[in-house]
């Protein structure tokens, strides 16, 4: 296999949940379903207070071209539809509150599909109708990635099972427990894209998952690719480089190099959508960290408050200092444990000890440059941003930054480089530089 430049080897910390089968989290009494859980336009609500809904009932319709419908994740009654702060961005976001009846009655549309022959268009339509977005974290609508423009022919599909973030084991467990379903979903994705070359990429710290998928993929022609364990191996551009030695051009998309990447969880969801018309209303979430009493992998209904999951995991261990949605490298710190799980939530990480050393001046050691998988010079970018030289920051390719956090991780001066870059990007967008 090929190598991408930079990257780091943080402590993996996957032990607490690596061997734990996925448990089903109890149905929450109330779910909070955001109508904007994906990149692109939010869904438009189609239910009102008092409406009866079932598990899988559409509660929001696509609000634009790049948008997907949103579904109820439990059966019950719509309690309200209000604006609440988005857990990740803090922006007011229309949210549907549903009080459960405890029955988990499925919507009528969910049933086994008996199609002997299915067309790519039907697959793409089913994927959109099921509200599937990229489950690796970015939550980009999947149907859109399955319909690349004609002038960008795609020859390779990569299914991403790297899960390179420390602590998280959701994808790992899914690969172990549902390998057949992942392969079935992968077939649908490959058919929708019309590609024959399919790679399933997994880091070599998960030999059991590699084995499971290898067995499940027998006879399909899919190639299981064992990659070196190195963060951020699972970042889209780095993964394509590692599998195909192709570099997505600066500012471009994977389709520019004839490639599409989908997460293993997404492949699983696609299988449910195509074979059962089952919308994306639940996902696997790793609840872990030193601040959780019994770390677990859980099947979680979208919209379940984080607090419920922590309670199911035995509650907090010590006093929580930081609650992170996602992994420790790219996850977002939450201001409250009452926020709900989103489609893109792969983990809840609770830290009960946080040591944030004060920033020192840069000593120009160059470690950030060595670690940056995008070939940027983080320390120079940081100076440009601090001086508010936006043109220069752009010229130094700030917009190529993937916010993987390698630079800030290795920085001996503990400079908050990612913080600086997020701020710089937001300012460039706001000022339209």
């Amino acid at each position: 296999m090929f190598k991408f430049h930079g990257g780091i080897h943080p402590r993996e910390d996957k032990e607490p949940t690596r061997l734990k089968p996925i448990e089903v989290a109890p149905l929450p009494q109330r779910v909070y379903i955001l109508l904007s859980q994906h990149t692109g336009a939010p869904s438009k609500p189609v239910v009102k207070k008092g409406d009866q809904v079932r598990t899988g009932t559409v509660i929001g319709e696509p609000g634009g071209t790049i948008s997907v419908p949103t579904h109820s994740s439990i059966s019950g009654v719509v309690a309200d539809c209000v604006e609440l702060p988005h857990p990740l961005t803090g922006r007011p976001t229309l949210t549907v509150l549903i009080d459960g009846d405890g029955n988990d009655t499925l919507d009528d549309t969910i049933k086994e599909q008996n199609h002997s022959q299915i067309t790519p268009q039907e697959i793409i339509a089913a994927v959109r109708q099921a509200g599937i977005v990229g489950l690796g974290g970015a939550a980009f609508p999947t149907f859109f990635k399955l319909s690349p423009p004609r002038e960008k022919p795609v020859d390779t599909l990569i299914i991403n099972g790297c899960e390179c973030e420390p602590f998280l084991t959701a994808d790992h467990r899914l690969m172990l427990e549902k390998p057949g379903e992942i392969i079935a979903g992968t077939k649908f994705i490959a058919q929708a894209l019309g590609v024959e070359r399919v790679y399933i990429a997994i880091e070599d710290n998960k030999p059991d998952a590699i084995q499971a998928l290898r067995e499940a993929a027998e006879g399909t022609g899919f190639r299981i690719v064992q990659l070196k364990t190195r963060y951020p191996q699972g970042a889209e551009k780095q993964l394509i480089k590692a599998c195909l030695n192709r570099e997505v051009p600066s500012g471009g998309l994977p389709a520019d190099v004839g490639c599409i990447v989908q997460n293993v969880g997404t492949a699983f969801a696609v299988r449910n959508a195509v074979s059962f018309h089952r919308p994306l209303y639940e996902r696997v979430v790793t609840v872990t960290g030193p601040g959780v009493r019994e770390p677990k992998n859980l099947w979680v209904r979208i919209g379940t408050p984080v607090k419920n999951l922590i309670e199911f995991c035995g509650g907090y261990q010590g006093e929580p200092k930081k609650i992170i949605m996602g992994g420790p490298m790219m996850g977002i710190a939450l201001g409250s444990d009452t926020v709900p799980v989103l489609k893109g939530t792969s983990g809840i990480l609770v830290l009960n000890e946080v040591q944030e050393l004060p920033e020192q001046d840069c000593i120009r050691c160059g470690r950030c440059i060595e670690a940056c998988p995008m070939g940027l010079a983080p320390t120079r970018l940081n100076y440009s941003i601090r001086a508010k030289r936006w043109q220069q920051a752009k010229a130094e390719h700030l917009l190529d930054c993937i916010e993987c956090g390698c630079c800030a991780y290795v920085c001996p001066a503990k400079i908050r480089l990612v913080h600086s870059f997020k701020f710089g990007k937001a300012e460039i967008a706001r000022l339209k530089v």
């Binding site: 930081k322 996850g331 710190a333 409250s336 940027l376």
Partner: protein, 350 residues
């Protein structure tokens, strides 16, 4: 779901960082220099310990004074001032008067470092700046205060050589003998004999193990290599600067004209003598004053090597390590500008 918990910390990712800190890196370099420090005490006795300790103590004092003067946080225990003091002491002849390290440390920490903004902002290596300042201000003390190392004599020539050239005793370091060469030899004597003695295996062996006249910390190539190897193995320093520096010196020693008594002996002589090992591993690799990228570091190392050899062969001083590094320090911003890292997804030029 509106209430926020005020005890939760909400800061940007990443939420974990490596255990490496600036202070740990500085102390790692100090620790790597301890074998050489022990060696210098062995070779030059308590005088070396006294001068180096004085140099460190005054570096700490003046660094704190400078930080106080500019209203900065006092951070003298982060290892950086200790390292500056240690390196300055290593760059002094063992028999210098006591006030020389004090004045040198004051210049290094206050003028070269704190005047420009403190650690991370100095544009030249403080220890080398201190040494250069002392050489310019007190050239006599800086070039004649040599001591004979234990198990060796000034100027590290076998006694047979001293019979050939009686005047050599006062000139101290091997590089000095090489530079002044024919001037040292009595009229009826052949200077070639002197060069052959100078580059003979016993002398090279002394240069490698340390019983050779020179500055406090530069005598033992072996002990410096041990520490330098440790720093490279633990990735505290990048191997590119020392390697490109040493290879350039070796290559130039091979091709440039000089008083050669055999190519191999001469090349080894150039590599092992003077402050090259100390400079290549511990001073040229100073983060603050060397380039950021791999490519830049190779250019930096080559530049140091070229300048060192030019000064040694044709310059006014017998040794060129200090000035070559200082000159390349000044060139570092330019090198950084010319060697940006390679952007991922940069379309290849056709």
């Amino acid at each position: 779901m509106n209430e926020t918990n005020p005890t939760l910390l909400v800061t940007s990712s990443p939420h974990i960082t490596s255990p490496i800190t600036v202070s740990k890196l500085m102390w790692a370099v100090v620790i790597a220099l301890l074998p050489a420090f022990a060696g210098s005490i062995y070779f030059y006795g308590v005088k070396a310990l006294f001068i180096t300790a004085l140099s460190i103590a005054s570096a700490l004092l003046f660094d704190a004074l400078g930080q106080r003067l500019f209203g900065r946080k006092i951070t003298i225990f982060d290892g950086s001032a200790t390292l500056t003091g240690l390196l300055l002491g290593f760059n002094l002849p063992p028999n210098v008067p006591w006030w020389l390290p004090v004045v040198g440390s004051a210049f290094a920490t206050i003028v070269a470092k704190q005047f420009f903004g403190g650690l991370g902002h100095n544009f030249i290596n403080p220890a080398l700046a201190g040494r250069a300042f002392l050489v310019a201000s007190w050239p006599t003390q800086m070039t004649t205060s040599w001591l004979a190392p234990r198990g060796g004599i000034i100027p590290a020539l076998p006694s047979s050589a001293l019979k050939i050239c009686t005047d050599a005793v006062t000139t101290a370091t091997p590089l000095n003998v090489l530079k002044q060469g024919s001037k040292l030899v009595l009229p009826d004597c052949n200077p070639q004999l002197l060069y052959e003695q100078l580059q003979s295996w016993p002398v090279l062996k002394n240069l490698f193990f340390g019983s050779t006249g020179g500055c406090i910390g530069e005598t033992s190539a072996l002990l410096l290599l041990i520490g330098g190897g440790l720093l490279i193995a633990t990735k505290v320093i990048d191997w590119r600067i020392p390697l490109s520096y040493l290879l350039t010196v070796a290559a130039l020693a091979l091709v440039l004209p000089g008083h050669k008594a055999g190519l191999l002996n001469y090349t080894l002589f150039q590599l092992l003598s003077g402050g090259l090992m100390l400079g290549a591993f511990y001073m040229a690799t100073d983060y603050v004053t060397s380039p950021l990228t791999h490519r830049g570091r190779v250019i930096f190392g080559i530049g140091c090597g070229v300048l060192t050899m030019l000064i040694r062969l044709w310059g006014g001083y017998p040794e060129g390590v200090c000035y070559s590094i200082l000159l390349m320090n000044v060139a570092t911003p330019l090198i950084d500008r010319l060697t940006p890292p390679r952007l991922f997804g940069q379309r290849k030029a056709k």
